[in-house]
Symmetry: C2
């Protein structure tokens, strides 16, 4: 394996393992469990899960993979805080969306060469990228992986006792 | 910048930005604030901070930078849960240790070439590394960055109101 392929392999493993941790945390929860707050007065599990699904969905166009699958998630899970707008998505439908989004992302990730990863993402102009070459796909991947871990650390606090 | 240098640059930026977030969260807290739990019955802020300091300290030998600065942290912050052993470290001394550990790590990180990052860390044998080439320094760096983010997501829950 070349050095750049090896570096990318590490990052993809990190992404995958955090998505799998999220799977374990969220996908088998009952509707009642998804209503739990991670701490008193803080976000509910359903909100965190939707927030992560929306963030992942937004990666599809940002990385140039495809248009969004669920732009309607943003109003419920990104631009408004938890409990401020009614959720029109159930745990079951969120699970299906979550899995489809991550599948499409993984297909896109798997198709990128090292040069693709080091190339600009779609929200930065060619001119700005010339000045700020770190605004590339790889930086986005790593940033979204830590964003995922950040909220997993919160979600685990509300994990139902075994 | 070559592709591999660009990939490493992204990862180092991610590390740095998460360490800086931890700085902002922890270093100015009073002893009383450090006693706060992130959620009822969960870890205190002082424990999370010490846990992150111990984890970072353990990176020094794992990445082949130098021997540990604070091996005594493990008993208080890694191998035992919060509130099970008395802490012999104050917020002030933890702050000094945290800063020194991160400074030494950063010096080490800055000295590594792309080949160094893709090379095995010190806890894997040459033979095992032949079979599992992802057990390299770069994987460790990314994994520790997400570990840091995971606990930052918890610590923020106890952030004192402005």
């Amino acid at each position: 394996m070349t050095t750049d392929k090896s570096l990318i392999d590490s990052a993809l493993r990190g992404w995958k393992s955090n998505v799998e941790r999220a799977d374990k945390l969220f996908v088998d929860l009952s509707p009642e469990q998804l209503e739990q707050e991670v701490a008193p007065g803080k976000n509910r599990l359903i909100y965190l899960w939707g927030h992560l699904a929306a963030a992942n969905d937004a990666l599809l166009p940002l990385l140039g993979i495809r248009e969004r699958l669920h732009p309607e998630f943003d109003g419920m899970f990104i631009s408004n805080p938890d409990k401020s707008v009614p959720l029109t998505v159930s745990g079951e439908s969120l699970k299906a969306a979550w899995q489809e989004i991550n599948q499409k992302l993984w297909e896109g990730f798997s198709s990128f060469s090292a040069l693709d990863w080091a190339d600009r993402h779609t929200a930065v102009s060619e001119e700005d990228f010339g000045r700020e070459p770190h605004r590339n796909r790889f930086t986005v991947l790593l940033g979204r992986t830590t964003h995922l871990a950040y909220h997993l650390g919160q979600a685990i606090l509300a994990r139902p006792k075994a």
